[in-house]
């Protein structure tokens, strides 16, 4: 079924950024992009299951979820939304600078992204601290200060906060992972590593991941913070 190719351009040793299993940079870049999107599919399924649980419980306990959600701080959530949206913009800019091979621009934009991510986590910290202080963390002692429940049935409010902490917690974990990955990418750019400077694709991959993290928040924010009265 097969013959042997007489000759083909095989770039072993020619290109430092090319891994041995690939024939050329195009194949390598295509594989990276397909791989990243495939990974994002798994992430969508991962969060998708949680969104399904949320949707079901919210439809079952509409009024209680609405009352419980009034304990959340919409201002803080709003600030975080804009912080993340802006960080998505800076990541997009860093990819653009990577395409233009402008190392300074990439580093600056990724740096701003890191600051945004950190700001997000700091705001999150204060939000969580407030909820803990109000005894809104599920478990024994939940709702011992009923004024913070805004009249929601404690049991159903506990379900709501279980999902709130579970989902925003997992999202926060993704933000932290994103910070580590962006930090690694920045270090590579800082050292002028050919792995990232030769081609914009590695920067693009990190950018894709970061956009996904933003996207999850863009769903979480209205679902958790912005409920209409049923």
């Amino acid at each position: 079924m097969a013959a042997i190719a007489s000759d083909h351009g095989h770039g072993h040793g020619h290109d430092e950024a090319l891994h041995h299993q690939f024939e050329n940079m195009e194949q390598q870049n295509d594989s990276y992009i397909v791989g990243m999107w495939t990974f994002l599919v798994t992430e969508v399924m991962f969060f998708g299951a949680l969104f399904l649980i949320y949707t079901l419980y919210r439809s079952m306990y509409q009024m209680d979820f609405f009352l419980a959600h009034e304990a959340l701080n919409v201002q803080m959530g709003m600030i975080n939304t804009f912080v993340l949206l802006f960080s998505s913009f800076t990541v997009a800019m860093s990819v653009r600078y990577a395409q233009l091979q402008k190392r300074g621009g990439v580093l600056a934009m990724l740096g701003i992204t890191q600051v945004c991510a950190l700001a997000f986590m700091v705001v999150k910290y204060f939000e969580y601290q407030e909820k803990f202080g109000h005894h809104l963390y599920p478990g024994p002692g939940f709702g011992s200060h009923p004024e913070y429940l805004h009249g929601a049935t404690p049991n159903f409010a506990q379900l709501y906060f279980g999902l709130y902490f579970g989902m925003t917690g997992l999202h926060g974990l993704h933000v932290v992972i994103g910070m580590i990955v962006i930090g690694y990418l920045m270090a590579k750019w800082w050292r002028n590593s050919p792995m990232v400077t030769k081609d914009y694709i590695p920067t693009e991959l990190v950018g894709l991941y970061w956009h996904f993290v933003d996207l999850v928040w863009i769903f979480l924010f209205p679902l958790m913070y912005l409920m209409p009265k049923p």
Partner: protein
């Protein structure tokens, strides 16, 4: 195979590149194994570790069988019995079946079959093995350190609230092992899309590759869902985050929905690669183009797709609405169509084939029979009326063992024998292997066929007493007897395959005269698989029945074993001339 090129120079090149170094002897240090990116070495790492887990899971199975020989049990207490069958299920599902064919044979073969140097992401591949080992060690740790008694299904609220066993640790292990599965799936998909050799179009791919691709799709869509579902139990146990708590108004049945959304497709993760192996074995040992190539390829994708729409048939008696039940039952019946297409196509491939009854073929023929029984009894269970009677009995146990052991394990053994010369460069002893293949078939049927009967009579699964119905005992004894035979037939290949590593005859590049790119490189292949990336000119199953028949007759006339390819024969005759 490739119409033998007319140009003598080309023939000389396409004869296997006889490099002395191969992927096994390229570097002997332990570090070179533990830090390897080579898909073939990772497959060997998986082979060793998965065999170990299979051994542990089998011990648990043996304990279950021996306990059940007496109506009141005699070696295990109730608590211990629960832990033993949980251990058997968890190890066999998460540490053996899901990884066995994809991560061992799939990892080894996928790049070879499509003419690539390696997987698209070799380091991710290695990471997948480390995640698997980390998960495996955690699961084992949990089992040694007190065990887990919730069954492999971890139904809430038992697993989240009441179980005092090591649920959290074992779940963490399964969660981590899930990511090992995901990384393998991503690698399969990207490799199939992007790493194919020039000329290797989608419809020239071996059917094994189609099956692995479909498996990859199921893995990436299903595994994250079960990961997050099990994570919810961990949340509940460790962080008191109520997700499925019925006492607060949560929905425990929702857990079952999410769990089976993965765990039903997971059976296709186990069986789809087995279908792939089966297609390769049948085509090669019938010496014939596989019948209905396109239908087999698409039926793999159809099973992958339909598999996600049938999970409700595990929940007919768990407060699911009647209409849900009817819909899930109907779609479950639909899955029978692509499965039957495969079985009929394999059978049709045998027709007028030039059948060579060698070890892998015996496994493959056994597979057809056992899988058919397993599949048809699945219809009893997918049917609402009969399921109410049969669910949670030994009938269901027998059904899924027919598919998982009779299907997946048989195909795994067949595939392991078929590709053993390629993986190790050694031939296994054919006659003992042949008899062992028959022994597997006998032992298997003896173990699980009585379970259909005793299940139909009403023996519940997960019980270790049946003093209320001592008439079940003969069936249980028959089953235990069969499991002993089966255990023996798993130990024997372990012994002769290990022995063949040092004592076996050296294998030629293509000891079966098989078609496919993996047979065009040396055995064992060099680290980079091919000295030059091949260009594919034709479909993989280009057997010509007429020449095959003549070759076979000529081979018989010369009294040379027919599986020796022309290539090997000519090499031998050349040696004699010298």
């Amino acid at each position: 195979m490739s119409a033998i090129p007319a140009d003598p120079n080309v023939t000389a090149v396409s004869a296997t590149p006889r490099t002395e170094t191969n992927y096994l002897n390229a570097d002997w240090s332990i570090k070179s194994w533990l830090l390897t990116g080579d898909h073939k070495r990772i497959a060997i790492l998986y082979l060793v570790s998965v065999s170990f887990f299979f051994f542990l899971g089998s011990i648990a199975a043996g304990l279950i069988r021996y306990e059940l020989t007496a109506p009141a049990g005699f070696i295990l207490e109730s608590e211990t019995y629960n832990k033993v069958f949980s251990a058997h299920g968890i190890i066999m599902v998460f540490l053996f079946l899901i990884v066995a064919i994809p991560a061992i044979l799939g990892n080894f073969l996928l790049p070879l079959m499509i003419g690539a140097r390696d997987m698209a992401f070799p380091r991710l591949n290695l990471l997948s093995w480390y995640l698997f080992m980390a998960g495996g060690i955690l699961i084992m740790g949990g089992m040694i350190n007190g065990g887990v008694d919730s069954g492999w299904t971890f139904y809430v609220p038992y697993s989240s609230m009441y179980a005092n066993s090591n649920v959290t640790m074992v779940l963490t292990g399964i969660f981590i092992a899930g990511f090992s599965s995901i990384t393998t799936g991503i690698n399969f998909i990207v490799t199939t899309h992007k790493m194919r050799a020039p000329g290797m179009t989608w419809f020239r791919l071996p059917l094994m590759v189609w099956a692995l691709y479909a498996t990859g799709v199921v893995i990436i869509l299903g595994t994250p869902v079960v990961a997050v579902t099990l994570l919810c139990i961990i949340f509940e146990r460790v962080f008191h985050l109520p997700i499925f708590s019925a006492e607060l108004g949560g929905d425990p049945v929702l857990f079952q929905h999410l769990f089976w959304f993965y765990s039903h497709p997971a059976v296709y993760i186990m069986i789809l690669p087995a279908f792939g192996v089966q297609s390769e074995l049948i085509a090669n040992f019938a010496r014939k183009r596989v019948f209905g190539y396109h239908l087999i390829a698409f039926s793999s994708l159809a099973i992958a797709g339909l598999g996600f729409l049938v999970w409700g048939h595990h929940m007919f008696i768990s407060s699911e609405s009647m209409y849900q039940g009817v819909v899930f039952s109907l779609i479950s019946f639909l899955v029978a169509i692509p499965s039957a297409i495969k079985v009929f196509n394999w059978t049709a491939t045998l027709y007028k084939g030039n059948i060579r009854l060698q070890t892998p073929m015996i496994y493959a023929l056994g597979f057809i029979g056992l899988f058919t029984i397993g599949g048809l009894t699945g219809l009893f269970l997918g049917c609402l009326g009969t399921d109410v009677h049969l669910t949670n009995t030994y009938f269901i146990v027998a059904h899924f063992h027919y598919v998982m052991v009779g299907g997946a394990v048989t195909a795994f053994l067949g595939g392991l024998h078929y590709w053993w010369p390629k993986m190790t460069g050694r031939l296994y002893p054919e006659s003992i292997a042949k008899w062992n293949a028959v022994l597997v078939f006998i032992g298997f049927n003896l173990t699980f066929f009585p379970q259909f009967i005793v299940g139909f009579m009403g023996m519940p699964r997960r019980y270790h007493y049946y003093y209320f119905a001592p008439e079940f005992q003969p069936y249980h004894i028959m089953s235990t007897l069969g499991s002993t035979v089966l255990a023996l037939s798993f130990i024997i290949p372990g012994l002769y395959l290990t022995r063949s590593l040092s004592k076996g005859a050296k294998a030629s590049a293509n000891p079966w005269g098989a078609h496919g790119l993996e047979w065009e490189t040396s055995s064992p292949p060099p680290t980079s698989n091919f000295d030059q990336i091949p260009v594919v000119l034709d479909e993989v199953y280009d057997f010509d029945p007429v020449t095959e028949h003549e070759q076979d007759k000529a081979a018989q006339a010369l009294e040379v074993p027919s599986y020796l390819s022309n290539e090997a024969k000519s090499a031998e005759s050349e040696k004699e001339k010298r």
